[in-house]
């Protein structure tokens, strides 16, 4: 970086709006795909853990160990299996969501008060109907809390996929920023990441409130 390079060059931002928008949309797509797939897989795992309570510990141990693996290492270790592709990126990102989502879904479902379940049984709900119409709605706030953490985490992790040739905002931070000693690109990338995380978090909170109107009513 030359000495006179300013931290922010607004002309560069103005000239590269298209490129920045492109990276942003790549980023969002990878986040949405990973969190959605991660949620479906975690939900499945949570149902397994409910059915076979003894599997809970092992699922937690495996997902916890995966969670500890540094993202760059995990992306790289998947290359022999899935190559330098979007699949590699999404598979790794999905794996990272599992610990957070699985644990929150299980905790949420366990937190449903037993008398509520009794009441539902008394009203003649079958197990499946009771699950979808009573237990899941009550568990929803904690499930969404998990989704919020998983989403914010994933927004950060997507940046690392640029090392395996994928784009996203990590491209702005690392490839066109740090590697070329160009601060403007770094700061644009980081700022958009933070904004994205804040917006996603607020959006999911809003969704949760919309889906559980009774919680608001009770709070007055």
């Amino acid at each position: 970086m030359n000495e006179n390079e300013p931290f922010i060059r607004f002309d560069w931002i103005a000239n590269n709006v298209d490129e920045i928008g492109q990276r942003l949309s790549e980023h969002v797509l990878m986040v949405v795909a990973s969190v959605l797939i991660g949620f479906v897989v975690s939900f499945g795992l949570a149902l397994v853990a409910r059915r076979f309570p003894r599997s809970y510990g092992s699922i937690l141990a495996v997902t916890g160990t995966i969670y500890a693996i540094p993202s760059l290492a995990l992306f790289v270790l998947l290359i022999p299996l899935t190559g330098l592709s979007v699949t590699t990126g999404v598979v790794a990102l999905v794996l990272y969501t599992l610990l957070i989502l699985f644990r929150n879904i299980v905790t949420a479902l366990e937190g449903v008060p037993p008398d509520v379940i009794e009441a539902a049984n008394g009203m003649g709900y079958g197990p499946a109907q009771r699950f979808w119409r009573v237990e899941l709605p009550i568990a929803l706030p904690i499930v969404v809390a998990g989704l919020r953490i998983a989403t914010v985490t994933t927004i950060g992790l997507v940046t690392i996929t640029t090392f395996i040739g994928l784009g996203g905002l990590g491209y702005l931070i690392i490839n066109s920023g740090t590697r070329r000693f160009f601060p403007t690109s770094i700061y644009v990338g980081v700022l958009l990441c933070v904004l994205l995380a804040v917006l996603a978090d607020i959006g999911l909170l809003w969704l949760q409130r919309r889906l559980t109107p009774w919680a608001q009513a009770r709070q007055g």
Partner: protein, 249 residues
């Protein structure tokens, strides 16, 4: 799949370990010393802050709010934010260890602050009132009641920070900080995938080892008086910010 074999072959070659300028031993040393220094500096800043706001019970929301916004900054983002500043301030010295250290410290602080705060807040209020009634001073309350009761949650925060630090140290190589990430980042650049995969195996092992060591410490730190009580909630408190979900951002 043969790439795994190539990675392991790369690891098995003693010459790759001992090269004085770019050997595995050198990079491993850089990785560990950077991680340990960062974690220590972060702990010195974060733990007193967390204890202070946790004990007082005020100012918590503001600090936690800042910590959560900090969490939204991607790990590589911290490196990117810091190094143009250190470069402008210190010239060549502003590359390498220094920006990596600052970035890793910034990254390691939030989990320790939030967990220490949450741990202290979860301590039974009756316990503290009882302590006060027995004539304990504020420092005594903190040292003899609050910290022992909150220790598992506090140490969970330390564990999260430690694992995250070891993981992110890998990225320090993009600002000239060396570490095992050097083999991965440079290796991808020159398409030397054997050392990329070999180093990734090492890095993953190092992170999992860190997780295991700190989980062990955490498990042993449960105050004898609290052992056996609510084993479930002590097993994994606050890994993702207590209570489940916390209030990210």
């Amino acid at each position: 799949m043969e790439l795994f074999g190539e990675g392991i072959a790369w690891l098995a070659n003693p010459g790759n370990w001992t090269d004085p300028r770019n050997g595995i031993l050198l990079r491993l040393w850089e990785h560990i010393s950077l991680s340990v220094t960062s974690l220590l500096v972060a702990a010195l800043l974060a733990l007193p802050l967390g204890l202070w706001i946790g004990h007082r019970g005020r100012g918590g929301a503001a600090v936690i709010g800042i910590a959560n916004i900090g969490r939204a900054v991607p790990s590589v983002g911290w490196l990117g934010i810091v190094f143009p500043i250190t470069l402008a301030l210190f010239g060549r010295d502003g590359l390498g260890f220094l920006p990596a250290l600052i970035a890793l410290v910034a990254l390691a602080i939030p989990p320790m602050v939030t967990n220490t705060y949450a741990g202290l807040r979860e301590v039974d209020r009756d316990l503290i009132e009882a302590g006060r009634g027995m004539g304990m001073r504020e420092m005594q309350l903190l040292r003899r009641l609050e910290v022992p009761a909150a220790l598992p949650v506090i140490l969970a925060g330390v564990r999260i920070s430690a694992v995250q630090t070891v993981a992110t140290a890998t990225l320090a190589s993009i600002v000239g900080g060396g570490t095992l990430g050097e083999f991965i980042v440079q290796g991808i650049f020159v398409r030397a995938l054997d050392r990329v995969v070999g180093a990734a195996i090492l890095v993953a092992g190092l992170a999992i080892l860190t997780e295991l060591i700190f989980s062990l410490i955490q498990r042993r730190a449960v105050s004898p008086g609290l052992r056996g009580r609510s084993a479930l909630s002590l097993a994994e408190p606050g890994h993702v910010g207590p209570p489940v979900g916390g209030s990210a951002v």
